[in-house]
Symmetry: C7
Subunit: 84 residues, 7 copies
């Protein structure tokens, strides 16, 4: 809890900085995708490379490339070590 | 995880590049459609040719042509080998 | 999977071309309607003539004319032989 | 399935033509209302006179007048013999 | 079913005419509120005085004044004898 | 049921008049919050001081300050004795 | 319950004042995140550092950084001692 306020980060900055880096995305319906962020737009539509899908206990699929509609995004997390 | 950032991909570019190619689409309600993308618009409304529908364990239907309302799209994945 | 890209189809074109032809519509709540498309607008509100409703196993109803609110449309499929 | 395309019907025309006539409306939550359409607007908000409510097996209520919010409308069907 | 079409009623007129009169409101989540309409706006936000809440079998609460967010309104019914 | 129509109350007026007074708020997911209204905006985002949360039978939490997103508000009720 | 009305707080002010401080966020799907607020925008998209996720009884995860889409936010609570 810093006492000196730093400049707030704009949420879309997180996406810009995550290009070509690993991210994890939670999508409505309790689905998680992890892969490399290739692109995004202001609606939070995301393009993910080598996206690995995890659905609770139901195993997982891999997609060479995935366009996720922003409407369904719950959160995006840059991977450890990748975020600046 | 590239160290040199490449130009981000615009999400709708994925759709433009997938015209006449195989895609897989997940639609709300745990439904998957695979077929050839014939058209799209900025709302992510999609036109799919020879769309094969898969609903969990409930078997599948084939539609010669399908107009999917963008609102219901969760993700679009270009097929392996088709994506540039 | 054509190697030469053809002109993409605009999704609403599918509706325009389906006027006076049979369509099948899926509506939220796992309901299917089949009938003749009489009209539509940009919100995908649809007017369907002789609309037969199918709800999973619960039998079916017929409506002489049905105005379906576009918000609830999941997909529209032109019938075989009718789509150009 | 007419071979000669007729002029498409605008969806809101169905409402305009149904004024003072019987309609049936399905509302989200599997509820059906039948009564006389007294008014509407572009949001599909509807005013229904002598609206009889049917909820699956749970019996029915009658409302002298009902203002249904358009957001909740799934479909509107003009009654047989009333639609032009 | 009148044969001579009368002027359609604008839905918000129903609210304007119900000011200071009893109404019944259904809200998403199967809740009913009855009370005196004190105010409204174009979003169908409603102000209800002496609002009695009924939730299926779960008994009822009374609120001296209630501001209901329009988003959640399913229908508004003026009480018998009050509507003009 | 007054016979002389009074001036309708604008719904957001209820919020303005409730500043520094106790309110009860129902939020989607059957949650109730009671506390002192410290602020609001036109989206019905609310700032509540000493907000006590009640979730059906699941006990309750207290938050020194709570920013509730307007989207999730079902109703706001000024407390007895506080509303003018 | 103050008798002298103070100036209402603008809801987004709560976010501005919480930069670099601990917050707790409830997200649709009964999930709670606590961590340090690093950024936000007018859509209530939030950037949270060292975000600890709690899902009812299902244990918890920690994310070095999390971008939460504003659509899914139910409430934000500044931590005790941090709010001004």
């Amino acid at each position: 809890m810093g006492k000196i306020a730093s400049t707030p980060i704009k949420p879309l900055e997180i996406l810009r900085k995550s290009i070509d880096k690993n991210i994890m995305v939670e999508v409505r319906g309790s689905k998680l995708y992890s892969g490399v962020l290739e692109g995004y737009d202001v609606y939070m539509n995301l393009v993910i490379k080598n996206a690995q899908e995890t659905l609770g206990q139901k195993g997982s699929n891999v997609f060479q490339r995935l366009l996720v509609r922003g409407d369904n995004v719950i959160f995006v997390s840059p991977s450890l070590g990748d975020a600046s």
